[in-house]
Symmetry: C2
Subunit: 200 residues, 2 copies
Amino acid sequence: MVEVTRRRAIEDVASELFRAHGYAATSVRDIARALDIQGPSLYAHVTSKEDVLRAIVDRAATRFEQAADAALATARAGHSAALDPAAALAALVRAHVRVITDDVGTAGVFVHEWRALTGERRAGILERRDAYEARFRDLVTDGIATGDFELTDPAVAAKAILGMLNALSTWYSPDGRLPAGRIADHLADLVLRMLQGGSR
Amino acid sequence: MVEVTRRRAIEDVASELFRAHGYAATSVRDIARALDIQGPSLYAHVTSKEDVLRAIVDRAATRFEQAADAALATARAGHSAALDPAAALAALVRAHVRVITDDVGTAGVFVHEWRALTGERRAGILERRDAYEARFRDLVTDGIATGDFELTDPAVAAKAILGMLNALSTWYSPDGRLPAGRIADHLADLVLRMLQGGSR
DNA sequence: CCTACCGATCGGTAGG
DNA sequence: CCTACCGATCGGTAGG
């Protein structure tokens, strides 16, 4: 968390507080206190408390989207013809896990606190969340079509995968037993096995 | 949600509001309004807002624990000797799903809003959550020992399973496409496949 | 970035 | 279960 601007420092501090205590339970003065300034001084840098939340959630959404773009582009690069659904999904899972472990505060806010947004901001982020979930669902559907995956409901599978991955934002700690890379290995493995079913 | 006492009606209304908007974002007057009474009138039935949360979370914890007890007792009943870990875990998953779908408001509060508890109440519920998670983890460990399951980290697997099941409290609706029973079928299937790995 | 301050709302109490 | 009310805190503004 090396901040270049004051605005960014505010968002970093706020994302950690929002993740730990929730948006509604975090006051503007709590954020200010963590930065060693007075509450009203925050308004020299932000227009409202909700705007801070919007900025955090927006940035997190962008990070998830870009990581997914990069992961799928790489997975596709290897294969001139059709995409290997299992390899693509594994890449997508690893990318998602990396976004969370790289900044568990921001990711946790994206996962849990977007509900505190109102009006258009809420609608906009809901749309992006749905589109992101669709990437997982579509890949599962592809894998069923190619015969790589063996299951009947891609929508439930996508909800299950994202639920299991997003829970990471509640239990991951950089100081934990497992390094982020090992966790990504385990989760990608669990997801693939869940979908592939195998000859059993 | 057929309430016998006023106190229970308060908890039912509050659990739905807490689940939908969060504990901190729900005011005592919001709860009262949903019951068509004045805010202060609530205090004839409860001692504090946090006590309402505590009661909801306590009851939810008890429901999860009792459902797990019953599921494991049934799974054990069939086998005079050693327990079949796959069958036991499937029963545990189904029981967990049923508790959520039977009352998604209360379950959602248990899953997400217990953090708003303070002091001893928070510590107490954290202990019960840990013990509950240990049931899943221990069954996974058993299954690895018997050779039924094929994976290396039971702790990560337990977190993954509960994360995927608990996400149900954010997307399940009684009016949804799939009836609760079908969802339980899908999730139990996904969990078992995730653990069994198979000969692939 | 500060002090001084605003109206609104919060959880909760008194007294019926 | 009500009205009247409490001190504390909320997000935010004015004016430097």
